[in-house]
Amino acid sequence: MTGTVAVLVFPGTNSEDETLRAVRAVGLEGELVHWSQPEKLARFDAYILPGGFAYEDRIRAGAVAAHDALMDPVIEAAQAGKYVLGICNGAQILAEAGLVPGTGPLRRPTAAFAPNASGRFQSVHVHVRLAVDPGRVPILAGIEPGAVIPAWASHGDGRLAAPEAELARIERDGHLAFVYCDRDGNPVAAPNGSALSCAGLVNAEGNVLAVMPHPERDAWTFQHLDATRDAVRGNTEETLAPSGGIVFFEAFARAVLAEAIA
C-alpha cells in the first residue's frame, strides 16, 4: 500500500516539479493535479500545496487560491483529518484559508504570512528547527525533537503577522511549528522579520502544516552548500542521492503511509 499525494498546481505555481520529485523520492505516489482538474482531487491520501505565486499574489499572497474551488476538496480533507502540507505560497494559502493556525472560522484568517519587513522578495539559505513537541505534528510522524532542517527561504511575503493575542495563542498552544535557527539549531533572527521568528505553523490537530522555507530545494546532496557535498566528491551516486531537507519529506511519508495502512 502506497500513500497517494496530490501536488496542487494553481495558475502561477512554480515549484510543483521539485516538490513532486521529493514526494516520489520518499516512496509516496505523487501526482500533479492541475487547476482545471478539481474532480480528481477527492481520492488522495494527502495534499501538498507547493511554492510559487498562485494567481499572481493578486489581492494578497494566497488569498485568491484560498477561495478557489480547487481548495474545497482540500479543506474538506483537512477537516476529515487527512494530511495537508503547504510550502511557501502553499503556506500562505493555508493561512488565508484559515487552516493554520486554525483558531478561527474557515477562510477567515487569524494570522498571515505578510510582506517581508524589507518590503521585498529575498532568497537566502536557512535552517529551521522544530519548535513543538513532535507529538504535536503527526503530519511529520516520528520527527526528532528539535530537528534542524536546511531549506531556502525564497519569498516576498513570509513574515508571520497577527494581533498580539493571537501571537500569544500561537506560542502557548503549540502552533509555532518551526523557527529560524543556525545549522546547530541556535535561534537566529528571522530573515524576513517574522514574528516569533516563525518559519512554520501547524493546526491544533497536527494534520495541517504550513512552512515558508523550501526543504525540497536542499533535499539532494548536490544542492547542499555545506561540507557534506564536498565529502562525497567524486561519488556520483552519493552526490545525486537525497539527503538534508529530505528528512522533512521522509517524516511526512511516514505519516501518510501509516494513515494509508490504517
Partner: protein, 145 residues
C-alpha cells in the same frame, strides 16, 4: 499635510477581474470591480511639482499602463474602501528614490464594488466583501469614508 494620488490601469486590470470572480463566488452581488493604487505623501508644504516628480517614477506611474489622478482628500471617497497594512513602516523612499520635501509615503489599495447599474453595492454587502476577502485583519485594516 498629505497629498493624495490615485493610480489606475489603462490596460485590463487583471487583479480587479480576479477579485470580481472571487467575490461573485462568495455571493457578493457585484457586477464590476474598480481598483486603484492610492499613494499618500506626507509633505511639509504643498509641493507644486510633486505630480511631475512622481509621474516619472515608474513604480508609481508608468504612462504605458497607468493613469495618475490627484485627489482632494486623504480619505476614501464614498462607497470606496481602502486596504492598508496595519504595521506599515515609515517609508521615505520609493523605487529607491527619495523625493525632496516628502516626509513619509504610504500606500493603500482602493476598491469600489459596483452593481449592474453602475452604482455602489449596499454598504452591508461591501462590508461582507471586506470581511470575507478584501482584508486580512491579521495584518491589514479597512478604511471607509
Amino acid at each position: 499635510m498629505t497629498q493624495t494620488f490615485a493610480v489606475t490601469l489603462t490596460i485590463p486590470d487583471n487583479e480587479a477581474f480576479t477579485a470580481f470572480e472571487t467575490l461573485a463566488r462568495l455571493g457578493i452581488p457585484v457586477a464590476r470591480v474598480v481598483r486603484a493604487d492610492i499613494w499618500l505623501f506626507v509633505v511639509d508644504a504643498p509641493a507644486g511639482d510633486l505630480t511631475a516628480t512622481i509621474s516619472s517614477i515608474e513604480t508609481i506611474h508608468n504612462p504605458n499602463k497607468h493613469r495618475l489622478l490627484a485627489r482632494d482628500s486623504d480619505r476614501p471617497a464614498p462607497g470606496e474602501v481602502w486596504i492598508a497594512s496595519r504595521d506599515e513602516a515609515r517609508v521615505t523612499l520609493v523605487g529607491g528614490r527619495a523625493i525632496p520635501g516628502v516626509r513619509a509615503i504610504r500606500r493603500r489599495t482602493a476598491w469600489r464594488l459596483l452593481d449592474d447599474s453602475g452604482r455602489d453595492i449596499a454598504p452591508a454587502d461591501l462590508e461582507r466583501a471586506v470581511e470575507t476577502f478584501l482584508c486580512n485583519p491579521a495584518f491589514q485594516v479597512a478604511i471607509t469614508a
